[in-house]
C-alpha cells in the first residue's frame, strides 16, 4: 500500500484527526455509534425542536450500518457500511452537533468534502459487503436508542482494529476521486 496504517482510539478529537490524509489505513478501536436514515431523521427532529439527543454527539464517530441479527453466542450478525450518500443531507446538522467522523461506503456529494474541511472532520471508507469479516472487529453491541427501528436503531459498538480508509480528510480532499482518475482510461 502507498499509505500508512495508523492505530487510533476513540474519541477522535479534531486534534487527533487533523493530520490524517486520504488513503491512510486506520485501525480504529473504542466506542462508536450506528445511525442510518431513520435514526438520522429522528436526530434531526430533536435538533430542530431543541430536544435532548439520545446520545452525546461531541467527538463521536457515526457508522452507517444496519447489521443482521446475532446468532446465538455471537455479539452481532454480519455488519458492513451502507451507502453514505443517503445521509449526505444530514451531515451538516451532525457536524454542528460535534461529530468528527462518519464511516460508510461510496462517494458523497461534493458539499460533504467542503463540510469536512470547514468542521475539521473525516469520512472513513469501510468495505461494503465485507460483512462477516467486519462483524469480527465488533466486540460489543448495545442498543441505546430507537429500538423500534430494528436494524436501524442507534447502537453503541465497541470495536477493535476496525479497518478503515480515510475517504475525505479534514483538508477536504477526496480519496476516491483521486484514485479513480489514476485508473481512468480516456477515449
Amino acid at each position: 500500500m502507498e499509505n500508512r496504517t495508523i492505530k487510533m482510539t476513540t474519541p477522535l478529537t479534531k486534534e487527533k484527526i487533523k493530520d490524517l490524509n486520504i488513503g491512510d489505513i486506520i485501525e480504529l478501536s473504542g466506542v462508536i455509534y450506528t445511525a442510518r436514515d431513520a435514526a438520522h431523521n429522528r436526530i434531526k427532529e430533536n435538533y430542530e425542536n431543541n430536544r435532548k439527543q439520545p446520545i452525546e454527539l461531541e467527538y463521536q464517530i457515526i457508522f452507517y450500518v444496519g447489521p443482521t441479527p446475532a446468532k446465538p453466542g455471537k455479539v452481532i450478525g454480519s455488519a458492513a457500511p451502507t451507502t453514505s450518500a443517503r445521509m449526505d443531507k444530514y451531515v451538516e446538522m451532525m457536524l454542528k452537533q460535534g461529530i468528527t467522523g462518519m464511516i460508510g461506503k461510496g462517494e458523497r456529494a461534493d458539499y460533504v468534502a467542503e463540510l469536512c474541511r470547514e468542521y475539521g472532520a473525516c469520512y472513513f471508507l469501510s468495505i461494503g459487503g465485507a460483512s462477516a469479516m467486519i462483524a469480527n472487529q465488533i466486540k460489543d453491541v448495545e442498543v441505546v436508542a430507537y429500538e423500534d427501528l430494528g436494524t436501524e436503531s442507534i447502537k453503541r459498538l465497541k470495536v477493535e482494529d476496525l479497518r478503515l480508509i480515510v475517504g475525505i480528510d479534514s483538508k477536504g480532499r477526496t480519496f476516491q476521486e483521486e484514485q479513480v482518475k489514476k485508473y481512468k482510461i480516456s477515449k
Binding site: 443482521t68 450478525g77 454480519s78 461506503k105 461510496g106 459487503g129 460483512s131 430494528g150 484514485q179 479513480v180
Partner: protein
C-alpha cells in the same frame, strides 16, 4: 400427465434457498472475484478484492450472511404446465418460505410494508415473486436476495429507435458511471433491451442470473456485451470505487421483440455479493 404438488412442501425449500444464497457465494462468483484479483493493478483495489474473498470464505464457513444487506427476496419460479398445486395459495406458501428463511437464518429484515409510510414488516415478507409457465412437469425456483445498494442504482429509459445501438451503449455506460462505488463494484451489469416497460426491466433482472463469463448466444449481442465490458472497465472506478481496472465482472444483455416505435432499455446492477440459489423440483 398431471403432476400434483403441494405448495406446503415449498416452504422449507424456499427457506433453505434464502439462507444458502446469503451464506455461500457460488464457485462461479468466487472464480470471477479471484480472476479480478489477478487482473487488478490498483493496490487499494487488490486489497479490497482480497478482503472480499476472505470475507466470502469466512461467511460460508461460519454460515453467516456474506453481506449484512440480505435484501428484499426476489423469487423466480418456472412452473411446468403439467404441475397442479394443492395446499395454500402459491404466493402465500412462497412468502411463508421467505419468512422462515429470514427468521430462522438470522437474516436482516429490510422490507417496509408501505414505501411512503415506512413500517417494517418484521419478517422480510413479502418477496417479489415472478412466475413463468413453461413446458414439462418440473418446478425451478431461484432466490435472489437483492440488496439496496446496487438495486437502487438501476435505470430505465425509453430511447427512440433513431438512437440505435449507440444510444443504448451511452445509456448503459452513463448508468454504470452514475452508480460508481455506491453499487459495491465489481458489479455484474444486467441489461434488458426491447419488450414493453415491464418486460424490459424483468429481462434486465433475469440477465443477472446467467453465470459470469457466459455470453449471449446471439453473436451481435455477444459482441455488444464484450464491448460494453471493456468500456466499463476503462472508467477506473475499481473495486468498491477505490480506483482500479475491475469495475465490472461481466455484462449480460437480454433482448426481446418490441413495438415499431420503441427502444426501451433497462439496466439492473448486481453488486459483488452475487447471491443466488436455485433448485429444480
Amino acid at each position: 400427465m398431471t403432476r400434483i404438488m403441494s405448495t406446503e412442501d415449498l416452504i422449507p425449500v424456499i427457506a433453505k434457498l434464502c439462507m444458502d444464497a446469503c451464506y455461500h457465494l457460488s464457485d462461479n462468483v468466487i472464480g470471477a472475484l479471484k480472476a479480478a484479483y489477478e487482473k487488478e493493478e490498483s493496490p487499494y483495489g487488490r486489497d479490497t478484492l482480497k478482503l472480499l474473498l476472505d470475507n466470502a470464505e469466512l461467511a460460508s464457513k461460519e454460515e453467516m450472511p456474506v453481506c449484512h444487506d440480505t435484501g428484499m427476496a426476489v423469487v423466480m419460479m418456472e412452473i411446468g404446465e403439467q404441475v397442479s398445486w394443492v395446499g395454500k395459495p402459491l404466493e402465500e406458501a412462497v412468502n411463508d418460505g421467505v419468512r422462515k428463511g429470514y427468521t430462522e437464518g438470522y437474516l436482516r429484515k429490510s422490507v417496509y410494508l408501505d414505501p411512503l409510510n415506512r413500517v417494517n414488516s418484521g419478517d422480510n415478507t413479502p418477496c417479489v415473486l415472478h412466475t413463468e409457465i413453461v413446458t414439462g412437469d418440473k418446478v425451478k425456483i431461484t432466490v435472489l436476495p437483492k440488496g439496496g445498494g446496487s438495486e437502487n442504482m438501476g435505470t430505465f429509459t425509453n430511447l427512440v429507435p433513431a438512437d440505435g445501438v449507440e444510444g443504448v451503449k451511452e445509456f448503459v455506460l452513463k448508468s454504470v458511471l452514475a452508480a460508481g462505488g455506491k453499487a459495491c463494484p465489481p458489479i455484474v451489469v444486467g441489461v434488458g433491451i426491447g419488450g414493453t416497460m415491464d418486460k424490459t426491466t424483468l429481462i434486465a433482472k433475469k440477465a443477472l442470473l446467467r453465470p459470469i463469463g457466459n455470453r449471449n448466444p446471439n453473436q451481435y449481442y455477444k459482441e455488444l456485451e464484450e464491448e460494453l465490458l471493456e468500456e466499463i472497465n476503462k472508467f477506473g472506478i475499481g473495486p468498491l470505487g477505490m480506483g482500479g481496472r475491475v469495475t465490472a465482472l461481466d455484462v449480460h444483455i437480454e433482448y426481446y421483440p418490441c413495438h415499431i416505435t420503441s427502444l426501451p432499455v433497462a439496466v439492473n446492477l448486481q453488486c459483488h455479493s452475487v447471491r443466488q440459489a436455485t433448485i429444480e423440483l
